[in-house]
């Protein structure tokens, strides 16, 4: 259940961002992106978010939008880039094993939306 820790991090970060900008509108939407490798269960993340947000007035009505990014890789031997559905880190073009992950293992907040004044 790493989702709960992730939710806490999301909430802390959003509060820090709006605090920094001295905004006082309520947040309506948070767009969160996670890679397929992060093994996030959206239902658990949403459940955790909806539970914790009640303790934070500025976020109480916010919706958490979760987007899962595919795993994209680049082969360091032949340079081929591809999207993989199965966790196999071997180049499909040249069988190279020096595979660099371009996307698919990072979690970040992309944007937050606030109610208009």
């Amino acid at each position: 259940m790493h989702e709960l820790t992730i939710v806490e991090n999301i909430i802390n970060m959003v509060e820090a961002e709006i605090g920094k900008r001295q905004l006082d509108q309520k947040i309506s939407k948070i767009v969160f992106l996670a890679g397929k490798m992060n093994a996030i269960i959206p239902e658990s993340l949403t459940f955790g978010f909806d539970t914790i947000k009640k303790e934070h007035p500025v976020l109480a009505d916010a919706e958490l939008v979760i987007r899962i990014l595919p795993i994209t890789v680049r082969c360091r031997s032949c340079g081929a880039e591809s999207t993989i559905d199965e966790p196999e880190f071997i180049c499909q073009h040249c069988s190279g094993t020096e595979i660099e992950m371009l996307t698919g293992s990072e979690m970040f907040i992309e944007s937050i939306e606030m109610d208009e004044e």
């Binding site: 259940m1 790493h2 820790t5 992730i6 991090n9 999301i10 802390n12 970060m13 961002e17 900008r21 509108q25 969160f32 490798m37 992060n38 093994a39 199965e86 966790p87 196999e88 880190f89 071997i90 094993t97 020096e98 595979i99 293992s105 990072e106 979690m107 970040f108 907040i109 992309e110 944007s111 937050i112 939306e113 606030m114 208009e116």
Partner: protein, 227 residues
Amino acid sequence: MELFIVRKVLEANTKTADEIRRKMICSDTLLVNIMSSPGSGKTALLETLIPRLQKRGVRVGVIEGDITTTRDAMRLQPLNIPISQINTEPFGGDCHLGAEVILPALEPFDLEKTDIIFIENVGNLVCPAEFDTGAALNVVLISVTEGEDKPLKYPLMFRVCQHALISKIDLLPFLDFDMEFLKTNILKINPKITILRISSKTGDGIDEFADQLIRFCGKDDIAKSKC
């Protein structure tokens, strides 16, 4: 109004992990994060491995991440080494050890006089993989009773580790276990991982792992080169 912020969600954890890495580099201490499912033999590995390291002059410490009890720490007590117990909830604590709990857990150690510190992470193949502890080496244990397809089900774990130890190989005569299939699956996820077969019961592979750790420290006789 929409604000684009694009911030990594675990950046606070990474920052603390960086602080731990700096600390370890300054004191020339190797931090090793040991992860596995519950019951794969993390404590048993430490019980067998640590005396062999001690015999070779390596000074060891352990951070115990047992979430509800101090049982694992008690098992390691006869080794007479400094043990830092991470205390979490008495009934079901967290599912992983984040850098923010590792940093204070390093306090009790005299780092200048410690060569290797093992983190015995919480038994779990999902969450610990996600949280950088600041360890220079990540090690995953997978026992031969767990099934050959586990790496494919928990790819991130096998991706973040530099060593995979296949444990409990003394049980192989009693199982229909396809060792080559497990190895193939591990290498699909991480072609660069070092795989070692071990048994903490018979001692198979343990000296070899001790050698790999000592070599990673970059010194044949770690203890002599310090202080």
